[in-house]
């Protein structure tokens, strides 16, 4: 697994290029709990963004409620800025099916209509189920059928591949 600092540096460069190409001013960072918030904070620091990080908990917007019920752990979302008319930087640690990002965008729109949303993900595992692609990605990885990837933090960020026990 690659060094996280290098991945974050690369993402920062790519985001700068993206910001310049699109002519975006003052991006407001929003991380998806929990790992996405850590990555968002790291990117915010590197990009020198003044605006505080928003934190999204997408529990109430998940599309698997009717299959598995309400997730046991939920904490309030926190957006310390107006999203209406803003350029948002939405950040998650891992993207796979794209369902989390779908839920996050639905939630963001309940706060107002952003001018644009840029999507950044530290790790892209492929296997998309929805037509959603990050604008900036740290790395692409392929996992075995019984593996999953986890971001550990928040002091030192570290990516770890875990074996999923048999159901």
């Amino acid at each position: 697994m690659q060094d996280i600092e290098q991945l974050l540096d690369r993402m920062t460069d790519d985001l700068r290029a993206h910001i310049n190409a699109r002519g975006l001013s003052s991006l407001c960072p929003v991380g998806i709990r929990t790992g996405g918030v850590w990555v968002a904070q790291a990117l915010r620091e590197r990009l020198g963004i003044q605006t505080e990080c928003g934190e999204l908990d997408i529990t109430f917007y998940r599309d698997d409620f009717s299959r598995i019920g309400l997730h046991p752990r939920v904490s309030p979302s926190r957006l310390p800025f107006e999203t209406e008319g803003q350029h948002l930087l939405l950040v998650d640690d891992v993207i796979m099916s794209g369902r989390t990002i779908r839920a996050a965008m639905n939630e963001l729109f309940d706060y107002g209509r952003p001018e644009s949303i840029t999507l950044a993900a530290l790790v892209d595992l492929g296997r998309r189920e929805l037509p959603i692609q990050p604008d900036v990605t740290g790395t692409h990885e392929t996992l075995g059928p019984r593996q999953r990837i986890k971001l550990r933090g928040p002091e030192t960020l570290e990516l770890a591949v875990e074996e999923v026990p048999d159901a």
């Binding site: 309400l70 904490s75 796979m96 309940d110």
Partner: protein, 335 residues
């Protein structure tokens, strides 16, 4: 009936399936209800105060006893969860035409309802419904007879936790007509389960249940003693219809003895919370200067009521759905 509360309310995995009573629910589950409600408070502060959890589900407010406030907060809670809501005041419709409770419920099931929010003057009516009539509809108790009013108790617990951060070490006094209060019964259970130091009941003997200590509470007859070193004061509503019997001499006599005035409030700890389930009778249970004063959290209770109801509705609906197709839900999150 009470023996089966726990089994009725929980799925095999220990998830909420119906919300009928505080009795039978453990500390971990009550804490989870409060945590979930905390997140719904944030939803209520947004521009668009709605989440899609119960989208396409039908919630029936089934009120066999009138109640404007409880019904409207349940209605708002269901709407903020994106459910379709049907309000039925049964007292004025079918039952007066001779239809039985079971028949009314069968008809509602035929309308493909997913959840009944039920208030009934008979203790145990929601248990009866959860048990016998509706295997795949979630039942929420909105107050049954003198038995329990669990969502009111949980919104009070949420209010206490917001201000006091924790339950351990707290002394809580419940003042007034405990005997006829389903709210008090749920509150005492919730407070003890969540681990407060002491629950006190302050009332004349005529307004106390026969064995108040069995509920896990200490009894006081005088406010001067009962309020000493107390951190939270919960005033109960004095129902006017109770005054007609021989239980109390008069409203003014009750106010003199048990009404929460500024003088009596001074016996409690400085900064003690003043709570009331509403609607308040000013000058009967509580002085206006106290009800509107800096220690009163009465209006915050109303806001919390919506969030707590959203929490128990989404948790029990989730448990119900999960159970309907048990074995197929893998519980693995997709990213």
């Amino acid at each position: 009936m009470p023996e089966t509360s726990r089994d009725l309310q929980l799925t095999a995995d220990g998830e909420l399936r119906h919300f009928l009573a505080i009795e039978g629910l453990g500390q971990a589950l009550l804490t989870r209800i409060l945590d979930t409600a905390d997140s719904f408070i944030e939803v209520g502060e947004r521009t668009i105060k709605k989440v899609p959890l119960l989208r396409g589900r039908t919630v029936v407010n089934l009120f066999f006893e009138p109640s404007t406030r409880t019904r409207s907060t349940f209605e708002l809670a269901a709407k903020r969860l994106s459910a379709d809501v049907l309000n039925l005041d049964i007292g004025t419709s079918a039952t007066s035409k001779g239809e039985s409770l079971s028949d009314t419920l069968l008809n509602l099931r035929a309308m493909a309802s997913d959840m009944f929010v039920m208030r009934h003057s008979q203790s145990g009516a929601p248990h009866f419904v959860a048990q016998s009539v509706t295997p795949d509809v979630a039942i929420i108790n909105a107050g049954d007879g003198r038995h329990e009013h669990p969502t009111q108790a949980m919104l009070d617990m949420l209010t206490i936790r917001q201000h006091m951060k924790t339950f351990s070490g707290l002394r809580v006094a419940i003042v007034g007509d405990v005997q006829h209060s389903r709210v008090a019964r749920s509150q005492i259970r919730a407070l003890n389960t969540l681990g407060v130091d002491e629950v006190r009941l302050i009332a004349p003997d005529t307004l106390l249940p026969h064995e108040p200590e069995a509920l896990g509470a200490r009894v006081f007859h005088r406010m001067e003693e009962g309020l000493r070193n107390v951190d939270v004061i919960i005033m109960l509503r004095l129902q006017h219809e109770r005054m007609e019997g021989a239980l109390l001499p008069s409203e003014s006599e009750f106010y003199r003895m048990y009404g929460l005035t500024r003088e009596k409030l001074a016996y409690a700890n400085p900064g003690a919370l003043v709570m009331h389930p509403g609607p308040i009778n000013r000058g009967v249970e509580i002085e206006s200067a106290v009800a509107d004063g800096p220690q009163s959290v009465i209006l915050g209770q109303v806001t919390n009521g919506i969030a707590v109801r959203m929490a128990v509705m989404s948790m029990s609906m989730g448990g119900q759905l999960n159970e309907r197709q048990s074995g197929t839900g893998e519980g693995v999150a997709s990213t």
